[in-house]
Symmetry: C2
Subunit: 122 residues, 2 copies
Amino acid sequence: MNANSKDNKNENENYNAVEVKFIIEALEALSNESRLKIFRMLVKAGHSGLTVTEMSKSLNMPMSTLSFHLAKLSQANIVLFVKQSRFIIYSANFESVNKLIGYLTESCCNGNPEECFNDICK
Amino acid sequence: MNANSKDNKNENENYNAVEVKFIIEALEALSNESRLKIFRMLVKAGHSGLTVTEMSKSLNMPMSTLSFHLAKLSQANIVLFVKQSRFIIYSANFESVNKLIGYLTESCCNGNPEECFNDICK
DNA sequence: TTTATATTTTTAATATTCTGGAAATATGGA
DNA sequence: TCCATATTTCCAGAATATTAAAAATATAAA
């Protein structure tokens, strides 16, 4: 029990550089108005995803601009894509959002939920 | 039940401009390496918080740089501060992180957890 | 009231990001 | 093959962000 909470603490402190880099990349990717719009649109679209042309029409955004932002989102692994003949279907990657949230909540109270003065850890 | 899930959907879509602006500001604030370091350090410090001088020493960062980043973090309401005589004590605002996470998770599956193909909503 | 300490503001240089038009690439159909 | 469609890459200008030294402000203690 004592040992356990110490382990949690260490785990928490040992996020490695690669993981932190992913976290920052993900936060960066989502922290832009255009990209957050794109991301939310993909979230709404669900499984089936959307093509660049569809998004371009809905958001009234040039395809080169969209392409730029989609590249950032997929580099950050926040968005996935598959080629389907001439089309490229983009979709939201919920698993990554999950990881991101995990990191932010693990930050809480230095990994000691029993000492938490907020309800994040509970 | 049907009506309920429709309500959830509308709620989800009706995040107003001010709230979305807060979300973006918070994501922006956290998406910088220096600021994420500062934030995590404050998270670890917990209730009692830290002064600029203390952080400056630990992070080996000039106080003017710290001040710049702390201003961004507190503008985004991700970090709180109180004056205590000559000192200013900064601390993490977990409530805001909570809200941020709420927004990102509410994005999931367009507010229909029962249709979620991931475990975020569950 | 002078001095020391804590922090912020100003400023300027540098770096990075965003945007969209135009050209390039890739693929499927006529 | 030739054409239309889907998307990306290239480019360059505009806008923003980051950094830290130096100066300014604020407060407490001697």
